[in-house]
Symmetry: C2
Subunit: 370 residues, 2 copies
């Protein structure tokens, strides 16, 4: 299944910050067919560095989508039954308007002139896309990590527009530790002289800082155990061990490779803007009263966490579940056993597939949607 | 109690790498009195960024030592009974020979010409210091984190020279995750153009890279819970929240402060050399057979870990304990409850004090040493 990324443009979007972007573009893909009643649409929301290419083979790059093991004919998000949409987030760098795009006011890239964005802003733009397709109600919004934040925000901001919500390996607000890891990444980028206050599009990007930021991220996406299984203390070249100052262990070489590879596909300013959006995200708006945020929500929930995820630990999902249950909400929860850490939602999909498939079927049945 | 740091010089030291340093200096302090039999000496070994100033008030800086809550009259390491020594590690930057010192071959700082060092090299130099004081057997070697690695190495390399060993919050070899965190710190430093291949002593140090490295470290020293208790999501300046691009949360400002503060007291090249020594450390020399390393060891052990320490998780201490028990070794073990993460061995000292005091007393009694 070869897929093409489409671009939709809208005249403007008003942001939480008070700023307005005009125009605004959003990159998106879709898989499966929208039925005549337009009742079988599912929005899949991507994690921090993801993009609109969630499934199938990209027409441009030839690569499979980031959730291709979950989306397709007969898969968890069964494209024989559902019409699945995925779009790149606002502030991103994979087709949707972000800091690397041209600022119409200056004719140059926005850089640091790009307005601060929030998860709610991302969701607002997704809603514009969904509405432009004539869809008034989504069967489901589903995503992991920052994608889960967007799914939760959908349920709270537009409760009438989705029947169900699947937040995976996520949180209703970042902890101090999560903010701290993001801040280290930002500092690594801003410490790179090539960052140049965000103005580097005519010269060279802050590749070294961005690579270091990515390395930190990669450690937090894996678990102690999955790193041990993957690398242990295996040496890269046995002869060199002990008395060289470079790469000794395979894990070092892997991190350097992933760091440098990332630089070619991701914009450093997007890194700054999107991590800030994650850190600002707080479904309770600083009140601590998550129960108030969910009070009017009628959506069905399937909440999934993973036992070895220490970046978005299970207790954060359980906080959400507890509040929804207190409100007599329709919520299913599963803490799936996995060794893969936070990455589990991308790679350890057998049990996740069963859960999602069953949940979507029952949602569709109860709404007579499909 | 005002203390002065002393410097001892030795003609040369042969290193694991095959290189020889000549001369070599070691900075050290001592607390309490060495008895006539020279049987009451305890060596305390410091963690990664520590120094020789473990207790009392520094004559030079006016600051208390890094383990002043554990060392002193009536404290865990009771200086009314014991003679406590602490020295700065080889490769460090607080008085002991390290990459910032003058290379006699060139008259310039070593920089990257400094030989690769190991934990065993550090211990070898400590042994030279201890012997130079006329001490043939230590009552105990004790330390946390990298200090614990040195304590373990003492027990294995010089089993006849210590009666007991207290490795705290440590491991017998770094896991892939621990190597990965160290590697991120190294990459942050080496990504800073001011690092200049280690040759920066005539110009300015790689302050930005070193600060980022320190920030990563700080996150790993704390726990999710201790960060939440200390910072939560508290904002630095409420007005600025949400729509500025700088410091929003207290945890960000704390990390930036600790990062920049560190630069003034620590040498970036020492950071590189010492983290490599940690990563190379493997008490089983790559065989995986820890039992062989401990086979000839007669030392008594008190092994301590902390429940919330995710950088040096308790299971790593338990691996050591299991092997020692298999050998019918004399080993006491305690996994102390604490919320402070890896930092617990420095700050959460009430229970640790009781354990250490009792263990040292019984060691001294059984040896009729004090």
């Amino acid at each position: 299944m070869v897929v093409e990324t489409k671009i939709s443009q809208f005249d403007s979007i008003a942001l939480d910050s008070g700023a307005t972007l005009m125009p605004v573009e959003i990159a998106w893909e879709s898989y499966g067919q929208l039925n005549a009643e337009k009742s079988n649409a599912i929005l899949v929301t991507h994690a921090f560095t993801g993009d609109a290419h969630a499934a199938g083979i990209s027409h441009d790059t030839g690569k499979p989508g980031w959730w291709d093991n979950m989306i397709g004919p007969g898969k968890a998000f069964d494209t024989d039954r559902y019409f699945v949409i995925c779009s790149n987030v606002l502030g991103g760098c994979q087709g949707t308007t972000g800091p690397a795009c041209t600022n119409p006011a200056t004719g140059k890239p926005y850089g640091k002139a790009f307005p601060v964005i929030t998860i709610r802003d991302m969701v607002r733009l997704q809603r514009m896309l969904v509405s432009s397709l004539g869809i008034t109600r989504l069967l489901c919004v589903a995503g992991g990590s920052m994608g889960g934040m967007q799914a939760l925000e959908w349920a709270v901001s537009f409760p009438e527009m989705l029947l169900s919500c699947i937040p995976i390996a996520t949180t209703w607000r970042h902890s101090a530790q999560q903010i701290a890891f993001n801040e280290v990444g930002r500092q690594a980028i801003m410490a790179d002289p090539d960052w140049n206050e965000g103005d580097y599009y005519d010269t060279k990007p802050p590749a070294r800082g961005l690579a270091v930021a990515r390395m930190v991220g990669h450690i937090t996406y894996m678990s102690d155990e999955s790193m041990r299984e993957k690398f242990g203390r295996r040496l890269r070249e046995k002869d060199k061990f002990g008395f060289d100052f470079g790469v000794d262990f395979e894990v070092e070489s892997y991190l350097r490779y992933r760091g440098s590879q990332f630089v070619s596909r991701f914009d450093a300013n997007s890194y700054l803007y999107i991590t800030k959006a994650e850190d600002y995200f707080d479904l309770a708006n600083g009140t601590g009263a998550l129960v108030d945020a969910f009070r009017t929500v009628q959506t069905r929930f399937l909440v999934i966490s993973f036992t070895s995820d220490w970046l978005y630990p299970s207790y954060q999902s359980q906080e959400i579940v507890r509040v929804l249950r207190k409100l007599n909400g329709d919520v299913a929860y599963c803490d799936l056993p996995s060794n893969y850490g936070h990455d589990a939602f991308l790679v350890d999909v057998a049990e996740q597939t069963e859960l999602v498939r069953g949940f979507l079927s029952s949602t569709a049945r109860s709404a007579r949607a499909v």
